[in-house]
Symmetry: C2
Subunit: 342 residues, 2 copies
């Protein structure tokens, strides 16, 4: 695993600690970051001194192009050149997306990479994609996202036959505007044809994200990013409001303390570190981008999940499923997107 140690809120040493945990469980890691801060590597971890970080770059696309010495670029190159099987980036999703796309490149037949995020919904984990790799999407992109998300859920998250839903403003197949309707028609046909390794459950509404109707939810990156931020913001706002209420009176304080123990289980269930972070899908190798605020446990989890995805060949399996369904991009002249332009 090629791991970029820059970008973590707790600093590169925390990522190194995560790499050490993953190495104990058998992962082999090349760590790209400021060697001076990373300490002596344990067995299974190799350190490449790469102190330059573009994790916080204002324009990550041009930073990734123009900074060959950036740790994320060096890590992505290691993957592109076969020195590592997957990319893990400890922070800076934009930089990881840009460096990954430029260096590892899209897999053959894939229109666009997507960022897929397993959401830690209590009792009903659900993977949302695209959460922001591209703002806009066309039908054939969303169709590929369905296959990509299903492969992730099956291979890395352990859902045997993922139920895939299409985010819309109503369950009826006619709801959602042309993009959603046309994508739904195509996914329904492909699911009826059989061999996709997922079940298409049709349009789902925003509320269905948290009630277990689907294991994978597909939408464009603009809507997906908004959806994700609304979900996160609402959770924080409600938990914050309850905390404030508990702090505002003696009775409330006692009540909050009594609840605290029982809330531990819920907190573990909605712990975002468990899923390892966001997954960068559609490139020739898997990428995982844990959140910058993660602790060593989350970084270790990201590395182990990346290893699982690489060893089970998520890229090859996604490709094969898309090929079997005839949903790969053809040569530019006959590409479906050329036909679709109006």
């Amino acid at each position: 695993m090629a791991v970029d140690a820059n970008g973590a809120d707790l600093g590169p040493a925390e990522v190194a600690a995560g790499a050490a945990i993953a190495a104990e469980q058998g992962a082999r890691v090349i760590l790209f970051g400021p060697a001076a801060e990373l300490g002596d590597p344990p067995s299974g971890v190799e350190i490449v001194d790469a102190p330059v970080s573009i994790a916080k770059a204002e324009d990550p696309v041009s930073a990734a192009r123009s900074t060959p010495t950036a740790s994320i670029v060096m890590a992505a190159r290691a993957v592109a050149e076969g020195r590592a099987d997957a990319l893990v980036c400890a922070g800076g999703t934009g930089a990881a997306l840009a460096a990954g796309t430029f260096n590892i490149k899209r897999d053959r037949g894939i229109y666009r990479p997507a960022l897929a995020l397993p959401l830690p919904v209590p009792g009903h984990p659900v993977t949302l994609l695209d959460v922001g790799a591209s703002a806009e999407a066309r039908r054939e992109h969303l169709v590929q996202f369905a296959f990509m998300g299903a492969a992730l859920a099956r291979i890395v998250l352990g859902v045997p036959r993922p139920r895939v839903g299409l985010l819309s403003n109503g369950e009826e197949a006619a709801r959602g505007g042309p993009l959603v309707v046309e994508t739904g028609i195509e996914l329904r046909e492909r699911a009826a044809a059989g061999a996709d390794g997922f079940e298409f459950v049709g349009n789902i509404e925003g509320g269905d994200l948290v009630n277990g109707r689907a294991d994978v939810v597909v939408t464009d990156g603009l809507t997906g990013n908004i959806t994700l931020k609304v979900l996160e913001g609402t959770s924080q706002a409600i938990l914050g409001a309850i905390r404030d209420v508990a702090a505002s009176s003696k009775r409330g304080k006692v009540g909050g303390l009594l609840l605290k123990g029982s809330l531990g289980g819920l907190r573990a269930e909605i712990d975002p570190e468990t899923a390892g972070g966001a997954y960068l899908l559609g490139l020739r190798r898997l990428g995982v981008v844990p959140h910058g605020r993660f602790s060593r446990r989350g970084f270790a989890q990201a590395i182990l999940r990346a290893r699982l995805g690489a060893s089970a060949d998520i890229v090859g399996q996604t490709h094969a499923a898309l090929a079997a369904a005839g949903a790969l991009r053809r040569s530019p002249a006959s590409a479906p997107d050329a036909r679709l332009r109006r």
Copy 2:
């Protein structure tokens, strides 16, 4: 006020009770519903027997066209014919939207009606539109939504100079895809020009919906509906999970009971009945659609808010602001949407 009494979860009598409360506060109400269930009307309330309901119709558009005896259609006609100043519909947003649009009709120069919902976010109420009148939108629609939402916030919700934001996947003006970017450019220019009665705060992210960055948030109906449902679903899921945790142990039960009193204030603050429901904007008269699950208090509030909007001439004020900004739709030949088609 023309009030459709059909569609409420608690039945038409609950709506009649709400009308009675509003009448006590000076509103004059024509109530359309099953007279047999509505009891004797108090002073200020007139009953028109209209037992036919299309509130639960599967296809509200064709139901509204083909059912002239439906209570919502009769209520909308009363408004269209000047017998009432605003429409209030106790349930069935789709039917209200269709009946309102067909009968009351769009205001001159308005491209499309929008559904605006004041969200009861603790400490930071925010009005989101469009929450689902149309799935798709063009730039000129979103620009008008900004004016319409600002007029609602100013006139009916009491925000002196509303801050209007555009929902996107990043705060930078370049984020969000062509529709968001072009709408942002136009709103920024119009806000810089001055006379709009609102401040444009630029792109806001999904998380900003709950943190008070804007009073009015503009997006297309597909994204708006998804956003609303995610927000509602997440709130319910978290409160439900906390309830479950509290019920799962003795300590938790005691803690939950102690917190309950303090949570009352929060519950009042996030009570959706306070805002009266969703607002149907862009027609020649104001419409208000309280949620079907509301109690008499919410229906009374919807009627009183509709009255406030009508007496302060929200439609005329919106029209004047759009005219001053040159953002009204011109005659079909020179309409901006004709120019924009690619």
